[in-house]
Amino acid sequence: MPKLTLSVNGQPRTIDCANATLLVEALREHLGLTGTHVGCDSSQCGACTVHVDGRSVKSCTMLAVEAEGAAITTIEGLAKGNDLHPMQAAFKEHHGLQCGFCTPGMVMSACDLAARNPAPSEGEVRHWLEGNLCRCTGYHNIVKAVRAGAGDMNGGK
């Protein structure tokens, strides 16, 4: 099987996997990083969102081999020890989750937005999160959390 070398949450990793392996399978099944979820497996729900070289992508719709040499960040890579990342802390603070299934993807997607736009409006957050579905919250608190988290990430607090 082809060997694949990439960086995951700052650590160099090597994976033996078939070419048909999806990035999400490599992360969950080969590296045991099960924080990245599979909701629909059909490119719609965004639960599988991770960063590839800083950009949010649906890891169920990218081949692991395409990530050769790339830097991947998953939800496990955000917190520093026991200190939550500001976006995670904002989701907790603003009740941006209920069951939590969509949350890793929401947080990863939100971090990509905040890196581009330090103070997104409500409309900008809603447009950005079109690729992330949540069956519990009704989105209002997610939008609140993302706006607060973006502020905190960009020097607020």
């Binding site: 999806l22 965004g46 950009r55 949010s56 992508v57 081949l63 395409e66």
Partner: protein
């Protein structure tokens, strides 16, 4: 998904040779159309040839009256390009409403144009602006490029390298989006070009098409009201769970008026 050979060539020549060398081999760009189809086993290419390492295909250049966009430019790149926004604001806006943020981070112009999905957005801009599709072996005018359902004038293994969009005087795109995917249920691109008024409609038929009746009406008067009473027959339009053919015919009129009102 069936396993396949995977290649990542560093030159256009090698990429073309690799696809020519294996029957059924396919190029892989952003994978946002191809991978979903492969995951359903609706396509089982024996080999994928990734375009990711091909040099020079991800540039945007504005040169006089033309915006040249490389095939590997992502939708996000086009949406955020200050050059595109200045020269053809309607094109940057169209790109910013394709799918969602994650799809725009991976999906490419070349992939969309080669795939020719009947509900894709870019085809409306290509036909509406009279763009030129540039490939490894020649050029195709948008007017004769979109042949039918997922069908284009590309030969087997022909690689799209760029699209050249002529800068219009004014243009706008209005779409009625599918609620979940954001694909066009109906999208209408209206442009005032050096060669006259062009109206291109996507999402409604087997492939993107122009409306001569709307173009004639808007040539007399570039106002939403000029489209009153002008209809596109529902006979050949798509019908699915999202919209009947008659509803699509109605939406074409509404979206065309919205586009005319938004021209800039």
């Amino acid at each position: 998904m069936k396993d396949f050979e995977f290649h990542r060539p560093a030159s256009i020549k090698d990429a073309v040779a690799l696809v020519a060398g294996t029957s059924g081999a396919k190029y892989l760009a952003g994978g946002q159309s191809l991978l979903p189809v492969m995951k359903l086993d609706l396509a089982e290419p024996p080999a994928l040839v990734s375009l990711a390492r091909l040099p020079g295909l991800a540039d945007i250049r504005v040169d006089g009256g033309t915006v040249a966009i490389g095939a590997l430019c992502t939708h996000d790149q086009v949406a955020r390009s200050a050059d595109v926004a200045k020269a053809i604001p309607a094109l940057a806006a169209l790109a910013s409403h394709i799918g969602d943020a994650q799809v725009r981070n991976r999906g490419t112009l070349g992939g969309s144009v080669a795939h020719a999905d009947p509900a894709a957005d870019y085809p409306a801009a290509l036909l509406g602006l009279g763009a030129t599709i540039v490939t490894d072996r020649g050029k195709h005018a948008a007017d004769s490029y979109f042949k039918g359902l997922f069908e284009t004038s590309l030969a087997d293994g022909e690689l799209v390298t760029a699209v050249h969009f002529p800068v219009p005087r004014r243009a706008a795109y209005a779409k009625f989006a599918h609620r979940a995917s954001k694909y066009a249920v109906v999208g209408v691109f209206v442009a005032e070009t050096a060669g006259g008024v062009r109206v291109a409609i996507t999402g409604a038929g087997a492939t993107v098409f122009r409306s001569a009746a709307m173009e004639a009406a808007l040539t007399s008067s570039m106002t939403p009201g000029a489209l009153d009473g002008i209809t596109v027959p529902a006979d050949d339009l798509n019908a699915d769970a999202e919209a009947s053919a008659e509803y699509r015919a109605h939406l074409i009129g509404v979206m065309a008026k919205r586009a005319v009102a938004a021209l800039r």
